[in-house]
Symmetry: C2
Subunit: 389 residues, 2 copies
């Protein structure tokens, strides 16, 4: 298992002084770090239809970018190009292991693990992200420059490549295998490969108030909530036709406010919304689905593994009722399921022991109804969890 | 000018005891009321592409509904059918006059004037609306039954016709020309024409919290507002991967809350949103547009008329800066324009006198810049206001 090694300060210090505030190099963050996927496997993923990938290179000094899927890389030569693949943690259990070391940040903040393979001279150019990122250097060396936050002009160096002007570096380092560069949102950065190399970017992303509000509006529509009309009995004779007066304005505002004041509604929405994935999951529907008895038997033999990238959350507001949110859906298993729901959301690997209070005690009598067993069976059959062996 | 006559109680009494609360018949609400449009003219409007209309009739005892535009009405025979045309106030200045008598309700609550022409036996069937409506009886007599609020099953009597089950009437009256039936949202009602007749429905509609929130989300997107990301520096080491804990939930909620707490933002949004029309406006772009000097000259000779259905609002929050909202757009004319902006939004007919503090004093020197004159000129040229003669 990978574990993060901070040489110069504690995790608490990192969170208090760097997270979301300033970039920092964590030298030797991973001891003996090795690529979690080979360049060939990465190149293979980038040939697939439903995996997001990009090639960035220069042609006669001009930046070029191209979206996958790709068919070959031979025309690119042996320098000055980079291949980037998004959400590799969705497709490779080995790469998904890179997330656990960063579990001091909650999963709802996680975006994905993006991987780049670069030839000498390759890089995506100077740019600014909205993400917090831990760039973990795999094989090879890369030169990274990071500038300060501030007013940086952004422009399209190519239709698919948002760049920023050259900047004065506040960090200028050569990353070696196992080194980690943390960069908060807003700091311009530029990495140039010194030799053939791989980088693993563990990205964290938060939503804007607008994203949340827009998601909430969709949630209300999908669930037919919040549709009571503004009601205005007892109004006085209105004086000015074109005026939306203070009391009408307050009334309109109070009604919108009431939606945000409803903590159960907001918890259900936030859980559902934040548990949606941005990139596709590697869902393999079982050809021979389990029935509940068979599933219980398997689970007694070995734990269920959650597929990479699946988002499972609970909130204090609703977890007491055994509510959790998985891949955009809300599930409710009742108060007795509280601990099971926490295990389901907190752990990548789910054992019989952690769920057994809620499961039939004997596979032979599994016909005994268990809402949780029936959900687990559906999830395994749909590919959300799987048995490794 | 039409004026409303309440025989049995005052307007204050109506607002305190009936508006949004219970239906009531206002006998002789309009003295000597005459159709504001002829059946032929109405039938003509329903032949136009961009005017919303509907035919409701029965065929072998089955309800039928059909959307316009229509080409002829001859096949319908001489009984049991109704023609309904929406937003006739947008197309007929005479019909638009029906709104002023109801100006004790602010314009932002107004929906439109819908008119129905019925043959004997005609009607749309028993149904429930989300609207407050004043059904003003024109020529002919109609029998109206209104039931109480409550649990009423609703069903599609035809794909385009939402009906409700038979109900016990709390009102059962024959409306005569000039009588008005007020019905709040939620009360089932059914009108059957006793002879050839016309009804004029002045409808008021309010939004739901969901409509408003969904509009706000669109407004934020269109205006690139509210896009700052949730920021979470100084977070402690997180313990449970799948948990969205109380403090994170509060943070998410507080950021959404901050948008609603911004009264200027909310005023700009509400003004813009509520000033959008649901049905098309009869905008006639001038073939020979005025220049500013010519417009000022005209305005000195006669008032500008606002076209029917145009929605123009101001809010106390922003009117001090001369801000108004017209047909979905925000306009700002500065603090000195406060009174002009109120006149613009409150009055259907706009005189030189009501604006003159903000207009050049002499048409010959109209080159003198006036943001208001330039906006008025654009509005007249685009057909939002017009000169009657
Ligand atoms: O791997 C690269 O070349 C780019 C990485 C990067 O810029 C990021 O993860 O934000
Ligand atoms: O005019 C009609 O027949 C129907 C009127 C009506 O139901 C309404 O205005 O709500
Ligand atoms: Co970056
Ligand atoms: Co109705």
């Amino acid at each position: 298992m990978l574990s993060l090694h901070l040489a110069d300060f504690s995790l608490d210090h990192f969170l208090a002084h760097y997270w979301q505030q300033k970039p920092v190099v964590l030298r030797g963050g991973f001891a003996d770090f090795e690529n979690l996927i080979s360049p060939d496997e990465l190149a293979g993923l980038a040939c697939e239809e439903n995996i997001e990938s990009r090639l960035v290179y220069r042609k006669e000094g001009q930046w070029q970018a191209q979206f996958g899927p790709f068919e070959s890389y031979e025309h690119l030569g042996d320098r000055d190009w980079t291949l980037i693949v998004q959400a590799v943690n969705h497709w490779s259990p080995e790469v998904a292991q890179l997330i656990q070391p960063f579990s001091f940040i909650p999963k709802w903040r996680l975006d994905d693990v993006m991987i780049s393979y670069s030839t000498p001279g390759g890089g995506v150019g100077p740019h600014i992200d909205l993400y917090d990122v831990f760039i973990c250097q795999g094989s090879g060396r890369r030169q990274w420059r990071v500038g300060d936050r501030g007013e940086h002009r952004q422009f399209a160096a190519h239709a698919a490549l948002l760049h920023t002007d050259p900047f004065e570096p506040i960090i200028d380092v050569e990353l070696l295998p196992g080194d980690i560069l943390y960069i908060p949102p807003g700091f311009p950065h530029d990495g140039v490969s010194l030799e053939e190399s791989m980088s693993f970017s563990v990205g964290f992303r938060s939503k804007s108030a607008r994203d949340m509000l827009s998601g909430l509006a969709d949630y209300l529509i999908d669930n037919e909530l919040g549709n009571a009309l503004i009601s205005d009995p007892q109004r006085p004779v209105h004086q000015h036709q074109g005026q939306i007066n203070v009391s009408d304005f307050s009334m309109i505002k109070a009604q919108m406010q009431a939606l945000l004041d409803d903590d159960n509604l907001l918890a259900d929405f936030s859980g559902s919304f934040l548990s949606k994935t941005k990139c596709q999951l590697d869902l393999q529907v079982l050809e021979n689905p389990y029935d509940e008895t068979e599933l219980l038997e398997q689970l007694m033999l070995q734990p269920m593994q959650r597929i990479g990238g699946l988002r499972c959350f609970y909130l204090d507001q609703t977890v007491a009722a055994g509510v959790c949110y998985i891949d955009g859906e809300r599930y409710e298993f009742g108060a007795s399921a509280r601990d099971a729901v926490c295990a389901l959301c907190d752990q990548e690997s789910l054992s019989y022991a952690s769920l057994k209070d809620l499961l039939p005690q004997n596979a032979l009598i599994a016909a005994e109804s268990s809402a949780l067993l029936s959900a687990l069976t559906r999830w395994v059959n749909a590919g959300y969890w799987y048995f490794a062996e």
